[in-house]
Symmetry: C2
Subunit: 539 residues, 2 copies
């Protein structure tokens, strides 16, 4: 109750400042920023705000906050400051703890000025940035170690600009690899041998896990800003594409880039600038937020966040790329497969929906209204004792984790209908996870404004699902985020995300803590990815 009250108080604070803003302050002049402050604000915005509000601030997961729109609403820099500091109950995180007051001040002033537009990027520039550190011929022909590399974990150390490779069997550090600025996610190549990382600054790297000391073998920068990368996973009648290609989805410039899966050499760039599927308005900022790689066809499914499309890209003929532009919903964010790898389930989180695309027919077949701003990560698939196979998402904007039927073949009555609602401790949930062999489903509250809640996770029993899970605080510092299972599906890893940083490993059956990793190198851990689960899309 206290937590809810606090959130309501924060909202009131915002509303009160807003109220005063409708008075004579609304036309107060905007204070100019120095070049240094402008540049600092630009970097802050890029790192922490652009993801939800867009580089050109036209809105996506978060609302339109262009200077024009803010002024139209009568918002001043002071109002903006209140929003940034306190967040909103609707899903806007509070940055009061993370940012200094001075930083919030310049950021708010930055918002009152027209957004700077980042430059375009040609294939030639991408190629110029490409570094093949260890060519294929010089790489091992078989693993140079006897470790169980399919149970390795890649741990994103965001602010440190590194990825730690840990042995999932022994929990020991295998290597810490320099990847550069703010890695967003890792994906595994089809064979699992390579980890591909993508940074928020559009830089991709490739780590070879067969090396005695797994390390970076190539890097390339294909965007000014990015969030997604994946690999070609198809092997079949149309060819063997395992480890052959990779794709990077960019936020800016709005495009996707196909790169060589062995070297990261840029091969092809395709613009995703598009017209919104509903309003038919041209979007100069039409970003690729997530990519899902098909196993049964040589295809990637990417979403166009602002435009409300999922594009199916057939990569089997690179000179004659085939793109199916599937109308879905705005604004697309993240998502994943159902358990059979047939159905794409993607959050249109400003519409409080998950959209479902059948990868075989390449059509949207359903939309599931789940709650305020679903944020599934890749979601979680399990078999509910009553409703059969389901998929679930937590929410940014409400205290629920919701599961819907995702087996239209054998459970058509439940298909794409919400069948269970689980109570979480609050909004700000980013990730849910389980594993086919696991007993529990796990959920976080990473972006909750309340200190206790943002550090708490909940686990729910698969076999005997109850509305309330078992919840506890993982640490007394940072924000707790993201889950990953080991290959066997018996252990769950979760990160404590701050400058100190911890990795906590639980037994999935007993929910008991197995190990708590604290170390100097463990700065700002965010996502963590098990090779086997990532290469096979097991979630």
């Amino acid at each position: 109750m206290i937590k809810r009250f606090k959130a309501i108080l924060a909202a009131f604070a915002v509303l009160m400042v807003m109220h005063s803003a409708y008075g004579d302050e609304a036309t107060a002049p905007v204070s100019a920023l120095s070049a240094e402050d402008f540049s600092k604000a630009k970097a802050l915005f890029f790192n922490r705000c652009a993801g939800c509000h867009g580089t050109t601030r036209k809105g996506a997961t978060g609302p339109n906050i262009t200077d024009e729109n803010l002024k139209k609403k009568g918002y001043t820099a002071e109002v903006a400051e209140a929003f940034i500091t306190n967040g909103t109950p609707g899903g806007m995180p509070s940055f009061g703890g993370d940012f200094s007051e001075a930083d919030i001040d310049i950021l708010a002033n930055f918002l009152m000025q027209p957004p700077p537009i980042p430059p375009e990027m040609s294939l030639e520039e991408m190629t110029d940035s490409w570094k093949l550190i260890i060519p294929e011929a010089q790489r091992p022909k078989k693993p140079e170690h006897t470790k169980n590399w399919k149970n390795f974990f890649g741990i994103v150390l965001r602010d440190a600009g590194k990825v730690a490779i840990l042995d999932g069997d022994t929990k020991e550090v295998v290597n810490i690899v320099d990847t550069g600025f703010a890695v967003h996610i890792l994906r595994s190549s089809a064979s699992g041998r390579y980890f591909y990382s993508i940074g928020r600054d559009g830089k991709a790297t490739m780590i070879d896990l067969w090396m005695a000391k797994p390390d970076k073998v190539a890097e390339v920068k294909t965007c000014q800003e990015a969030r997604s990368i994946d690999s070609s996973k198809y092997k079949g009648k149309k060819g063997n594409f395992e480890d052959k290609l990779a794709i990077i989805g960019c936020y800016w410039p709005p495009h996707f880039v196909i790169i060589d899966g062995q070297t990261l050499e840029p091969k092809k760039v395709v613009s995703t600038r598009a017209y919104a599927y509903d309003s038919g308005e041209y979007l100069n900022e039409s970003r690729v937020a997530a990519i899902i790689a098909a196993h049964k066809e040589p295809e990637w499914f990417i979403n166009l966040k602002e435009a409300g499309f999922i594009w199916a890209i057939d990569y089997s003929d690179m000179k004659n790329l085939q793109v199916t532009m599937i109308e879905t919903e705005r604004y697309m964010h993240d998502g994943g497969w159902d358990a059979t790898h047939r159905y794409i389930q993607m959050a249109a989180n400003m519409k409080n929906k998950m959209v479902v695309v059948d990868s075989e027919t390449k059509k949207q077949i359903a939309q599931v209204e789940t709650g305020q701003k679903p944020h599934p990560g890749r979601g979680a698939n399990w078999v509910d004792p009553e409703f059969g196979p389901v998929t679930a998402t937590p929410h940014l904007g409400e205290a629920t984790m919701v599961a819907w039927g995702s087996d239209p073949k054998w459970h058509p009555k439940n298909a794409w209908k919400v069948v269970r609602k689980f109570a979480t401790l609050g909004g700000g949930g980013l990730f849910v996870k389980t594993h086919p062999k696991a007993s529990h489903i796990w959920v976080d509250h990473t972006l909750n404004p309340d200190d206790k809640i943002k550090r708490s996770i909940c686990a729910y029993e698969k076999a005997k699902p109850t509305a309330k899970g078992k919840c506890w605080e993982v640490a007394d510092h940072g924000r707790v985020t993201h889950f990953e299972y080991n290959q066997a599906g018996t252990e769950v890893w979760v990160a404590v995300w701050d400058q100190v940083g911890e990795l906590v490993i639980y037994d999935d059956k007993t929910l008991k803590e197995i190990k708590r990793i604290k170390a100097d190198w463990l700065r700002t851990p965010t996502g963590h990815f098990n090779v086997y689960n990532t290469m096979t899309d097991t979630y």
Copy 2:
């Protein structure tokens, strides 16, 4: 000889001015234009220059003439004036006769300033412009006249902003329809009942030929600038799309728009902004220059001029549009089918090539080097006595019409190889035409700088092809352009394009003039389209 000498003289004039420009005039200040002159120059550029040089002047069929590039080359406004006045032997028309000296002066000055960028256009704005003049329910259920409407001709009266409908049997005027500014082409719906027109200003109209007095039944504006329109022609297992849809290819904004074939209501807009297939550079101006409608599949083939792609668009599922992005060559211009309607043959005229795409496999299968700037219109298909089925194009930049083998199935040795070269009277050729039942192949020289040549046409015998055809002057005024056969393939219509305007009709067998139409309404006739030949893609 005299004509060639004149062309060479004109070229020398240009080169001499260029030479002096490399001296101290190169840095002469640019004289500012008044708002009125700027607006006039903008309109002139849009109407007569943008087609080849691009709205943003980055070049396509003509070279890059951005102010930056002109200044880099040391060109002054005076040099630009010389080019505009005299043209070049490489294919730039001379505008000395058409434009006043004052107009050339302001146009040249306009070129020394940064190009104004036209606005974007949303589906909503397109819908706002849509006028359904006669709804489907109020249209005739069968033809309200006994005329042979499949042998009607639509005659574009460019500067008059009208389309004349003539009866091909009687040569009488059926009606003169207000279509608005500078219609570029007409296309027939699959049934032939409707003529769709597209204006350079992006306005499309639809004429119902079944009405007692055929007239405009709908109009819509989907672009600021356009060149192409076509209809859905497929009827088969995947549905009956005859007369159901149409597509407009825009120059600006760079996109295509799918509209209702019965009402012109805008249904869908897709951006064609793209990266150049070769350099991988982002093109904000990536225009659709030509569209070819498939008969055997529910598909349109459009080209992306600057980017060097042909896109195959499957329109059978409008919510899940499938686009195959076929790499070909830059810069794409115009083209058409082979005789079997399987192969797309499109000019990449800055590369002096025709590219060939197999519409079944959706791959480029050949490139044919034909000569300096091929400009086929839709080309001409016939059976050569020695080489079998061939297709031909004239050239903007040289005095030839060239034919290549286009029957890989039965004449694989000749396929996509130049097998015949015909001498024309000079460059500036825009169109070639024949008909399966015709005896001759006809070619024009519309953009030739020489008065006699631009008014002359040549005809070549199909059965006994000779390098030199029979050539003659059609009129002593205007530019002579474009051919169309009647439905039976026995008569050839050609236009004398100027403010007086004539339509001259020849007997295809004897080459004798049958009729010469002169009339008050016949102002600036350019293209003319026979219903049957257009609906069936007979050329």
